[in-house]
Symmetry: C2
Subunit: 172 residues, 2 copies
DNA sequence: AATTTTAGTCAGGGGGACCTGATTAAAATG
DNA sequence: CATTTTAATCAGGTCCCCCTGACTAAAATT
């Protein structure tokens, strides 16, 4: 069993990291006349974008199912994304009840960008530290996946698929 | 200069961590009939609580200044916390314009609890990994502090003070 | 004493993540 | 063909973070 003191220390640093990062983001976004903010977390509109960048052309219904959202929430997010010109809606020709959502170039770029840029703070780490960090996070993530899977296997499938597919390009 | 591939890999893991953690939290909070959710990030009501647990009895004005919020936002958060019985408001006797905010026992406990518990996912790490993680986060945090300081020195002071004071107990 | 600054309040707004309920239009099915 | 299921939509709600504008009451200044 791991040393509790070490755990606490790491936990504290993690909390601190969250706070500091949030504040740093805040400053940067606020100053630069932030047109499109981009936290793009695995939430709301961000979720939709991620799912679409994995599989473009899904129907709202599909998105809702895959992301564990109600049809209404999904519609709301999609509409917001349409306003931001990140996705488009069009009726399916084969089943005219369905609305197919497509990423626009901007949407694709946004989703990719999010993912494409390495946060500057990683520049301060050495190669060894980067390796260590990646290894540690891999373990932590695995443990969290496990937790999700135990709590809700159905949801786990959809989630894990979306996430890992999205991030696959990162690990080549 | 560090290896870009390693940076990307670590960055990807970090993003993944964010997503997975969010989803895991989600599941847990949703299921357990979540009375008081606890993200308590460095935002909104959480900010107030953190600042007060560092220095109790601040006026709203002080809080606003220290947390880079408008007086109105501060008032809103404070009022919400009052409703949740986490803080109390009382007029200052020396300057009757001022309202002094105090943490209630519950408020103090909440702020502490947040901070007191080690996330379960740290259990999967070995002592060595915990040390590595702490060391890495220390570097990253320092770099982010730097960024904040460069962008906005005034804000940095207030922020850094609040955060490090709050987390000081963690590192004894 | 008159004016100005300061601490708060109220009102209202913008954006975000979600949800339930009711309704419509188009498929699927008996 | 009539009914039922399905994909979406509208309407309305809850809560969160945060801001600007207008206004009051109490100190500080002139």
């Amino acid at each position: 069993m791991p040393d509790l003191t070490k755990q606490k220390k790491a936990a504290g640093k993690l909390i601190e990291f969250g706070m500091v990062r949030h504040t740093a983001d805040d400053l940067i976004h606020r100053d630069h006349a932030d047109k499109n903010e981009h936290p793009l977390r695995f939430q709301g509109q961000g979720k939709i974008l991620l799912a679409l960048s994995q599989t473009d052309g899904l129907s709202q219904r599909d998105l809702a199912a895959r992301l564990n959202l109600t049809a209404q929430s999904t519609a709301e997010f999609v509409n917001k994304l349409v306003k931001k010109q990140l996705v488009t809606k069009e009726k399916s020709t084969t089943d005219r009840r369905k609305t197919i959502i497509h990423l626009t170039d901007l949407g694709r770029a946004t989703a990719a960008t999010e993912t494409a840029e390495v946060p500057e703070f990683l520049n301060v780490l050495t190669d060894t530290e980067l390796d260590q960090l990646a290894a540690i996070l891999t373990k932590i993530n695995a443990s969290l996946y496990d937790e999700i899977n135990t709590a809700n296997p159905t949801r786990f499938d959809k989630f894990q698929q979306t996430v890992t597919n999205h991030l696959r390009d990162w690990f080549l």
